[in-house]
């Protein structure tokens, strides 16, 4: 086996997208009320689903790598631009707290019937246009805090990947416990029935 494959067909990309959208919707993460309830610490579904997905995918890729079936250095690993990513990430967090979505969940939300997602998308196009106009003056931001190309946690610390996977799995487990503690004090999870009845 020699992963990653060079040229995935369109059909395979669509299929991966179908599963992506299906699991987002099935988790309840196409609902802006459920997404924003994470930031109110009332419903920890966002944290749980994201963290489990990251840990499962990371362990799977590591196993393929250890077995020699995957060229890990051929995978796309984002390079750090500290200030651009910290500020950009903060704006996406603020955007979700106010607008109720992130880019991906707005697509799934729209196709689960939520018309407010269209307005969020319109806003995104405006925000990207503003960025395009201001790009030249923001460019210096990318020069400060630039990390080594495609650096991973193991590359940064020198610790083996399996140890980082253990740390992340432990953090996910801790987050589950913390989430359950908060949920029992802040009104609890938002169920599909709550959303249907509008309560």
């Amino acid at each position: 086996m020699n992963f990653p494959l060079e040229n995935p067909g369109i059909l395979v990309l669509v299929l991966a997208g179908v599963l992506f959208g299906y699991f987002i919707e099935s988790a309840g993460l196409s609902s802006p009320r459920k997404l924003t309830a994470q930031f109110a610490l009332r419903d920890w579904t966002v944290f749980r689903v994201m963290f489990v997905a990251i840990v499962v995918a990371a362990i799977g890729l590591w196993l393929f790598d250890v077995a020699g079936w995957l060229r890990f250095d051929a995978l796309k690993i984002p390079t750090m631009f500290f200030w651009a990513m910290a500020l950009g990430g903060a704006l996406l967090g603020a955007g979700m707290a106010i607008g109720g979505y992130c880019p991906g969940t707005s697509v799934v939300g729209l196709f689960a019937g939520r018309l407010d997602a269209l307005f969020f998308m319109l806003g995104m196009m405006i925000g990207m246009t503003v960025f395009a106009f201001s790009y030249d003056s923001l460019e210096p931001l990318y020069q400060i805090g630039k990390g080594p190309a495609g650096q991973t946690l193991s590359g940064l610390t020198g610790l083996p990947t399996w140890l980082w996977l253990l740390v992340l799995a432990g953090m996910a487990w801790g987050g589950f416990l913390l989430g359950t503690w908060f949920e029992s004090r802040r009104g609890g999870k938002i169920s599909a029935k709550d959303l249907a009845s509008g309560s």
């Binding site: 494959l5 179908v18 750090m80 990430g89 990207m128």
Partner: protein, 172 residues
């Protein structure tokens, strides 16, 4: 016609495991993870070439997105077309599909549209600045243990918590 009773959501552990296996599969077949915001940048660059071709080509940001010439040539478009189908099918099968403007109990429909546009503006600007979104940087970068992704995720959750503490009445 009475609306169907909605089926409850998957437990987060099950949905997260399914999403994680999907993410791993995407890396194995394509070398990259899942994404979303890049599709909107492609769309903007494409619309730009129709509305203001000279400006778009000269723009130092959008100019970089003209290589694919058309959004249909990008993997992101096919993946998100699939995500739309998956969201539609999933919500229909589970009886959760509803035409609605989803909003908090104290927020009017009109105010909700305004907040959606406003939040969208922050998100669009933020995704362009960060060079990715919760899918591409958060999930996908996280799965390959990129340092950049954990910086992004910490900033995302910290700002979300802070803004929700100030403007939580929009939703709660």
């Amino acid at each position: 016609m009475t609306e169907r009773k909605p089926r409850e959501f998957f437990p987060p552990l099950a949905a997260g495991a399914g999403l994680g296996l999907t993410l791993m599969g995407m890396f194995l077949i394509s070398g990259h993870g899942l994404g979303a915001s890049g599709f909107f940048t492609n769309m903007l660059a494409w619309l730009g070439t129709l509305a203001a071709p000279d400006w778009t080509e000269m723009n130092s940001y959008l100019g970089n997105y003209l290589g694919a010439t058309h959004p249909m040539n990008s993997w992101l478009s096919w993946e998100l077309a699939g995500a739309a189908i998956g969201g539609l099918a999933g919500s229909l099968i589970a009886g959760r599909f509803r035409f609605k403007i989803e909003r908090g109990p104290h927020t009017s429909a009109g105010a909700r549209m305004g907040f959606a546009v406003g939040g969208g503006i922050l998100s669009g600007f933020g995704a362009s600045l960060a060079g990715g979104c919760t899918s591409s940087l958060g999930l996908s970068g996280g799965a390959v243990l990129a340092v950049a992704s954990f910086v992004f995720l910490i900033a995302f959750f910290a700002a979300g918590l802070l803004v929700a503490a100030l403007a939580g009445r929009i939703w709660q």
